[in-house]
């Protein structure tokens, strides 16, 4: 006999992801028959607000598009402006930017690990990983003055140079985080509960992944080796030595393994960056930001964030303010069309678990 279908509203209060969104589920028994994403709880019309501010005044807005990982937004907007204007960025600034992006990736993965374990009921992991993430946040605070939102990367370079002894602190933090990884393996990745929950759950079809617009760790978790840092190297990624881990399977487990291996790569990249960072200028000064007419033109730039391809399409009409800035966050696809597809057939208890594994960040969807 066919089971009666019931409607279940999951969210909007943190339904397994960082931020507010709701998933309307049609369930039969405890199996999802249909899923519909509802967003709109975090819409702040950032893109519209940017059209009423100068280019440089837009930086404090864009970092707020993603709380766990704000830096790719700043870097993207900066690079879009630089591309439209044809402005060169000093080599040192490029190295500093990569260091920031990788620190931000590590911080985002720490937070993801807490969320992923939390949705599986393993509550010790968030206590550890959020605590360890704070060491990275402390570094950001010392460097930029802000713990979460940094407004540090801006058009022309970065806002200020590294303070004295900062590089050593970063290296010491990396040593510490590296020493913690085996502990996380024992606590989380090798945990029988996590393995049992993650393997074979939330599978993305490998053949369809590219066409569906899957990016980042979910794509690499399907065994497809694509990463913006390799495909279209930006800043100084082409001068660094790192590998792009992939994992076959396309399930939550594969995505977790990709992220776990990428943490090691990020630590290695940060060490290389500090080792190779040249001395010199960190900022190619722009004209008075309040009276800066960016030439007419448009640019699409992209960055590999912790959740995948982060793109900015920026248009200038030659005026003081942007004509249009349109943000493409990975969650735009992962959180709506992909999520609605792969939740069908899932168990209710796995919904939050799958959402977290895709790295859905609602403010990125609605901005």
């Amino acid at each position: 006999m066919r089971e009666k279908e019931t409607t279940l509203y999951l969210g909007p209060q943190h339904p397994g992801v960082t931020g507010n969104m709701m998933v309307k589920l049609k369930v039969a028994g405890d199996t999802v028959v249909k899923a519909e994403t509802h967003v709109g709880y975090l819409h702040r019309a950032f893109e519209k607000l940017m059209e009423q501010r100068t280019w440089m005044q837009s930086f404090p807005i864009v970092c707020r598009i993603c709380v766990p990982e704000p830096d790719p937004n700043e870097e993207n907007l900066a690079r879009a402006i630089e591309e439209i204007e044809g402005r060169e960025v000093p080599e040192r600034a490029k190295y500093i930017r990569v260091m920031i992006l990788e620190l931000s990736r590590l911080a985002a993965y720490m937070l993801w690990m807490g969320g992923q374990a939390g949705t599986a009921g393993l509550y010790t992991v968030p206590q550890w990983s959020v605590g360890d993430r704070d060491y990275i946040i402390d570094l950001f605070e010392e460097l930029t003055g802000g713990r979460i939102y940094h407004m540090y990367i801006w058009a022309g370079g970065v806002r200020r140079d590294l303070p004295e002894g900062f590089a050593d602190k970063v290296l010491r933090t990396m040593d510490y985080l590296e020493s913690r990884l085996p502990e996380y393996d024992k606590l989380f990745f090798e945990n029988a509960i996590f393995q049992k929950r993650a393997k074979g759950v939330g599978i993305i079809d490998k053949d369809k992944a590219l066409e569906w617009g899957v990016v980042g760790p979910p794509l690499r978790g399907c065994g497809i080796k694509h990463d913006v840092r390799i495909d279209e190297p930006y800043e100084v990624y082409d001068k660094l030595d790192f590998v792009v881990p992939t994992h076959e399977g396309g399930d939550v487990w594969s995505r977790a393994m990709v992220r776990r291996q990428e943490m090691e790569q990020s630590i290695s990249i940060i060490r290389q960056v500090i080792d190779k960072m040249p001395a010199g200028e960190y900022y190619n000064k722009v004209p008075n930001p309040l009276n800066w007419y960016v030439p007419e033109g448009d640019a699409y730039v992209k960055t590999e964030s912790a959740r995948g391809e982060f793109g900015y399409y920026a248009v200038s009409d030659g005026g003081l303010k942007p004509r249009r800035v349109h943000v493409r966050g990975p969650a735009y696809v992962h959180g709506v069309s992909l999520l609605e597809k792969i939740l069908v057939g899932a168990n209710i208890s796995d919904v939050a678990f799958i959402m977290n594994s895709l790295g859905v960040c609602p403010p990125e969807i609605e901005r």
Binding site: T54, E211, L290, Y300, Y313, L320, K321, L338, K341
Partner: protein, 196 residues
């Protein structure tokens, strides 16, 4: 590395030009090609780019309001993983009768982009039956991302001012008064409110 081949953009541009004679093809830079097309040619172009030129990743779909020309510019940003190149396919549609066709049959996720552009710009995508409420709730009036939508007016009409800020003064005036300083002339000129 495969993406370092500088000639690939020329090859793709020539191929597009030979197939779509009326297209305006322009290599913007390494890995970026801009293709401007008549709006009726966009669906066949996207299908051709996806199926013959391996541009199978719809990276972004955007809209720019060119109110001065009474037009919307639709920008499809597609990427070929194989070739490592991005094509920005652009077309213009009438702003008054904002209508276009869906590309959901090519990329399932286009549906989400179309839902957003429908809500924010009021563009109707024929063939997309899911142009329902997406981000906004019970929205009435002109779509908010159109250039003629006045954000400040909407905010003052619909929300109350924080107590003590009824005059909506520039906070710098109070700060400078407390610190017995003066706002420099250039800063007065470029204050946020004067940037109209």
């Amino acid at each position: 590395m495969k993406t370092q081949n500088i000639n690939i953009e020329k090859e793709i541009a020539t191929e597009i030009q030979n197939t779509f004679h009326t297209a305006e093809v322009n290599i913007k830079r390494n890995k970026r090609i801009e293709v401007k097309l008549r709006n009726d040619l966009i669906p066949p172009f996207l299908s051709y780019a996806k199926n013959y030129l391996t541009f199978n990743h719809l990276a972004h779909f955007s809209c720019v309001d060119w109110i001065e020309q009474n037009e919307f510019e639709l920008v499809y940003i597609i990427y070929s993983y194989e070739k490592g190149v991005i094509v920005l396919a652009k077309t213009r549609i009438d702003r008054e009768k904002a209508e276009f066709v869906t590309t959901r049959h090519l990329w399932y996720q286009a549906e989400t982009y179309e839902r957003e552009l429908h809500e924010m710009f009021g563009i109707n995508f024929k063939g997309n039956d899911r142009l329902n409420e997406f981000i906004l709730e019970d929205w009435e009036g002109i779509p908010p991302y159109r250039r003629d939508f006045d954000t400040v007016k909407y905010a003052t009409d619909n929300f109350y001012t924080r107590p003590g800020r009824e005059d909506a003064k520039d906070v710098r005036e109070n700060v400078t008064k407390i610190n017995k300083e003066e706002i420099p002339e250039f800063a007065k000129e470029y204050s946020v409110r004067s940037l109209k």
